[in-house]
């Protein structure tokens, strides 16, 4: 009896009521029926981004498409940008900027560490002509949370924008578009939003429109000015991913009825329990001080072929844990705990980790991890 459980840092589990909404009869997108659904989704998205003055635009695309929209709309030919690069996804900002010929200054951050806001400050001082700072809320490849609130303070009052990749972070880790003063942020549907992949949400503050109006980088599908015009008529510029938007109507309603602060607190508690369970097994966390609510990254102990264990676990039980990516492959594993996750899921996740370790020949006292999780979550 296999049962699918995703402890991957996206895609995540989808509540049955959201799946049902996704499976609703198809409707046409140029109708008042769709516009009402879409207007409601767009309004609820503002709540998740914690913005009153900003607008949220929904693209049929993966999160990366939304990142490209941020770059292609805020910058112009010959502009300079600062990129905080602390892993695969921070580096993606630099790659996208490079594609558009943007003069890109990278702040390299060691894998597993968060950027020091003072270094961002120094870089801005040095690169006075930079137009945008691109950074990451939750670096999915390492589990690190960058201190966006502190970075925003550094950027504030200067003549440049702050763009945040919140793809695995928003809806999981505290994020406040208006209070912190973020200019543009992007997230994807397949993380804290409890949806299948296929939607990117781009939130634009009023402060970003000057740059967007001036931007001369080529974009058609990603054109935010066209999307803004469409949103004012409760629709999208091009055919929306209707079934995913129907699903979003339900999932964001679930988030809103729990309340965003409670959603963040639930994730914080579950993340804490996961870390404690891992430590009780004698394993070492990868992103120790810099870890957040989204996922727990763990150093693979010497002598254990953990990736083989992940595959065996998935094939035999349907439980999926993630390995490391690129240069971290074989060095870390990652337990995602975002979205449709409660205390019993964490018990299950840690019991799965125990199983992999045990079967991989690593000396583990079975039950020690799950007991620690129980103490924290039930005790």
């Amino acid at each position: 009896m296999k049962k699918t459980y995703l402890f991957t840092p996206g895609p995540t589990q989808i509540p049955p009521e959201v799946v049902l909404a996704e499976a609703s009869p198809m409707i046409h997108h140029r109708t008042s029926e769709f516009s009402d659904i879409f207007a409601n989704v767009s309004e609820n998205l503002k709540y998740v981004f914690q913005t009153k003055d900003g607008e949220v635009f929904t693209f049929a695309s993966s999160g990366t498409g939304g990142m490209e929209a941020c770059v292609a709309n805020t910058l112009s030919r010959g502009d300079k940008a600062i990129v905080v690069s602390g892993g695969k996804f921070g580096e993606r900002w630099a790659q996208i900027c490079g594609t558009y010929g943007v003069n890109t200054v990278k702040i390299e951050v060691e894998n597993g560490k968060a950027v020091d806001p003072a270094v961002v400050n120094d870089t801005i001082e040095k690169e006075q002509d930079a137009k945008v700072v691109f950074t990451t809320l939750s670096e999915t490849s390492t589990g690190v949370i960058h201190n966006i609130e502190a970075i925003a303070k550094v950027v504030k009052g200067r003549n440049l924008l702050l763009a945040v990749d919140g793809i695995s972070g928003i809806g999981v880790q505290p994020f406040k578009m208006d209070d912190w003063g973020i200019d543009i942020a992007v997230t994807g549907s397949q993380k804290g939003f409890m949806l299948p992949p296929g939607l990117a949400f781009v939130c634009v503050a009023q402060s970003a429109w000057d740059s967007i109006e001036k931007s001369d980088l080529p974009k058609y599908y990603w054109n935010l000015k066209k999307m803004r015009k469409a949103l004012s008529s409760k629709t999208t510029a091009y055919t929306p991913a209707i079934s995913l938007i129907m699903a979003a109507g339900k999932s964001i309603e679930i988030i809103r009825s729990e309340g965003i602060e409670k959603v963040w607190a639930r994730h914080a508690k579950l993340a804490h329990a996961t870390r404690e369970g891992i430590k009780a097994l004698g394993l070492e966390l990868f992103a120790n001080d810099a870890a957040g609510n989204v996922l727990t990254s763990v150093k693979i102990p010497k002598g254990v072929n953990f990736d083989a264990g992940i595959k065996k676990l998935r094939d035999e039980t349907g439980v999926t844990i993630a390995g490391g990516q690129d240069e971290l492959k074989g060095k870390i594993f990652r337990v995602g705990h975002m979205g449709y996750v409660n205390e019993f899921d964490i018990v299950l996740a840690i019991s799965a980790v125990e199983k992999i370790l045990h079967e991989g020949g690593y000396k583990v006292e079975l039950g020690k991890g799950v007991s620690r999780v129980q103490e924290i979550l039930v005790g």
Copy 2:
């Protein structure tokens, strides 16, 4: 008792078994389980495009995104392109080319007419330095089918590529990538593929790769070289729209088991019956000689507020017929008959048209249209 029936030219009805596949438990996309599903979808897509040597790339996006991928990958800075513009979607090629600073020569075609391949020939003769001809198989805004086979003959043997927007046409109207010698073609999921919107399929023939390798227009998400590298590992460059791809696994299997020639023939028969039913009501077709299998466009008779009738019909019964777009708004209506459609659907569609006309005060002999449809499809 409202029942949803979509006779819109996209999105279209989705078979229940496809909806069930879409609602399958979410799986992670970097697994052999997903790769096997995706490899099967990609292989079956080649069948629908009728290609052996080409490759089909699946983007999480609307069809317009796939069109942008065609432009951004085949052209380079300062290149010249020829665009056949015979409606909203032909014009979209010109808009996208314009966005990228491509020197665009337009062949303007009257709304409701197909382009004359001799005119394409003359334009190519005149514009010897053009690199790509962009054209449309099925112009969704008017119901016109352009003769792609004949245009391909004109382009063949010359030093330029033929790019086809097959968004509402492929899987409905005959289309043969290899036999006709198309270099690059795009379609969307929400038409003949019987899927929700959210996927664009871009088919690239071997003949297009030289231009793609050389192309220097900026693209990150739309980068076909990266997609090709990913496809060789049975995956996509960025997170795929997993639930839609699961659905595609089922829907393209349905197409394949019916057989593409039979799919085309079914649509041809249903389209013919629709046109005859419309004519029996005394209405005039808009794209008479140039009409195809995809949709039937009809001139709205004087004095009837047909758009109000469409809205009333939808609100009261759940049956959706489409009006005209942009400058054709209020002048034509469109009955889509593509994808998950059989003879009884056409009876229903024509009975709905009769109802709108009757309620709109137009003198119509009730039953005359559906009788004609019966004669053709049952007789």
